[in-house]
Symmetry: C2
Subunit: 403 residues, 2 copies
């Protein structure tokens, strides 16, 4: 006899739309008579290990819609990366509760966990279906055109840089914004999305897909600043030198190592280190650095409607695949035309534990900007309600005194 | 014979709605047949000094509406704080161009500039009307219930903390967000605006209106963390010790000065210094600090509709006062009931160069939170479309294995 029990978990860094996927699963599950109980694991796989479940069956539709529109992770998340022993313990708990379907919403670590748990269940002859639902602001899942959460974070980054660039026009100088993304530069690249007028920034974009060279960076900044009297720079937190060493670590020790120069960096985060470097080496007075921090992934009220819809749909599809489909797998987003998507179910092995980085065609030849192909890729993900900037078009008045 | 020329300038830090005031002035000016030319000074008073003007007369209405909805300062801004000699030079330029009305949009420094220029014109017997239009995210103009720009920045801070708090629920630890405001804590205080459920953060709010005590701070954080297993803290960049020394400076030298402890701070901005302090002294592992930076004042797409409307209206009123009113002055926002506003014209001397800080009734007894009176004050400014958070209300599932 079937228990009719399913379990949902959320893993990794919070996003603006991960709760859409949770609610997509719950609402679709309610349409299936075979499903009698919908459990949620608190704090992801750790909640499975600790047998820490909520019974979501009785949530009202209105509250679920409210939760869906709320950022972060309503069930709680975790940074745990389960090994085989951990997954075996998880499986014991799932078996004890007679869970028949396990849905894990997360990035490539989460999909790998799903893969191991599914394998353990198969070995034990326990009929568990395990579905991975994609989620990550890093946009780094292979075989996915993009991932839920990315577009909303990209909107934040795009809107932040649009504003910071206008701020930099109003009060000139150099501005550096440091964006999340250790290995994949997709989120940093989104900084370019709101550019409209010829001299709009960011004027320079540094991605982890390219090696960072401090001297070339300084030359790049100087060239832009000489031309425009200002410069706006988007930097990924994951930029590294040719040896793969993170610039955040490298620059922090620069003042000690630099015997022939007189660079004195003040310490702190990457944005401040780069700002200090520009001040010291280029003699530019007004240099400001911001680290976008947690705000970029969890800001309440900056969401792409496309991202919301797709995050909901991957949850729905996960339950459909579990109930009607061929078994375990990873729901993917694949683009059809410009712009529609399909949600195929991929084998877990195809996605699990792998990392996508930005394709070469998305990065320009000098490695300091994105290409038109990237902007065309990104645009439909952001939604049709993106705010746009406008500037005055007024002519100058002829001088009388200072001619 | 009248030249029919007016001049507009923008000063100080950019805001989300300062261009609304600019467009309010332009659109109202176009309704007056006496006004024939509308000039804009590039980069504020510096543009006056340098005779660097745009002729705004021929801007289309559609582009003006686009500019009004764009953050920062469309004419450019400046940090110059003119002294008497500077103002005298400005006045010479105004006289050469036969400017009859000078509109300066800015904070208390800008109003002081307007005051001096008006006095110089009066001394010279030149019929110049000078109007100051309020603007500052710091909300620190006296005799104003609030200032244009504050509510939109407050929304950003409120929405950022709402998201950061949910993020902190999902992946627990301590979170510190550092908010702009050297002397007035209004913007930091807005961090509390989205709290809804009993344990929602920020749990601690530190304002420049109260002296900061490092030991009490650590005890406060420990108490919240012991109770909830997490803690979200809003900190004003202007917090200082009892001697008035900024904590940002004080903590930066703490590792050197601290002979009896073993605190090792990593340097950097206030958020990182406080995070390092908590890690070192309280032994809490996951401590994260964000500095909201420029994003909070110029983010594209986070605007209070009330703020937009009022910023437009103070521009309109400025022109009305200049054309029909008693002469020079500062347009103010005064609250009528809950919630409507009036826009009286105050004498420039009443506002110029003075700084408002948070009233005692807005800060709680321990100095670590705002009062209900503050939340009631703030709420109508944010607009009726504020996003709201929602949480699951699901019951726990009984354990089977780990009983």
């Amino acid at each position: 006899m079937s228990s009719g029990k399913i379990l949902v978990a959320q893993g990794g860094g919070p996003t603006a739309v991960i709760n859409q996927s949770l609610v997509g699963i719950i609402q679709q599950a309610r349409r299936h008579r075979e499903i009698q109980r919908i459990y949620g694991a608190r704090h992801g796989v750790r909640g499975v290990l600790n047998e820490d479940f909520l019974d979501l069956t009785g949530e009202t539709a209105a509250n679920l819609e409210g939760v869906a529109a709320t950022p972060a992770a309503a069930l709680g998340s975790t940074r745990d990366k389960p090994d085989l022993a951990y997954c075996r313990e998880m499986f014991k708990v799932l078996a004890a509760h007679q869970i028949e379907h396990f849905f894990n919403i997360g990035g490539n670590d989460s999909s790998d966990t799903v893969r191991i748990v599914a394998e353990e269940a198969a070995k034990a002859g326990y009929p568990l279906r395990c579905i991975h639902i994609p989620k990550t602001i890093d946009n780094d899942l292979v075989h996915n055109d993009h991932t839920p959460g990315y577009a909303s974070a990209a909107r934040f980054v795009a809107q932040a840089f649009a504003g910071a660039d206008l701020d930099n026009v109003a009060l000139s100088g150099v501005y550096i914004g440091v964006v999340m993304g250790r290995h994949a530069g997709f989120l940093t690249a989104a900084a370019a999305a709101c550019r409209k007028y010829p001299d709009d920034g960011p004027h320079l974009i540094y991605l982890p897909e390219r090696n960072f060279d401090t001297e070339r960076f300084l030359a790049d900044v100087k060239a832009v600043h000489d031309r425009l009297g200002r410069c706006v720079i988007a930097v990924s937190e994951g930029i590294h030198d040719v040896q793969g060493k993170l610039m955040a670590e490298q620059l922090a020790t620069l003042s000690e190592r630099d015997a022939h120069g007189n660079v004195q960096l003040s310490g702190g985060a990457l944005a401040e280190l780069l700002a200090g470097l520009i001040k010291a080496r280029l003699g530019i007075e007004r240099v400001r650095g911001d680290t976008f921090g947690f705000v970029q992934r969890s800001f309440l009220g900056c969401v792409s409607p496309v991202d919301q819809r797709e995050a909901r749909e991957v949850g729905e599809k996960a339950v459909q695949y579990a109930m009607w489909g061929p078994g375990s797998g990873s729901v993917a987003i694949q683009r059809v035309g410009q712009y529609a998507v399909d949600y195929p179910l991929l084998p877990l092995q195809a996605v699990a534990g792998k990392t996508r980085t930005m394709e070469d065609e998305f990065i320009n030849a000098t490695g300091t900007d994105v290409t038109p192909a990237f902007l065309q890729y990104l645009r439909p993900l952001l939604g049709s309600d993106m705010p746009e900037i406008h500037k005055l078009r007024a002519p100058a008045v002829a001088r009388i005194l200072r001619v």
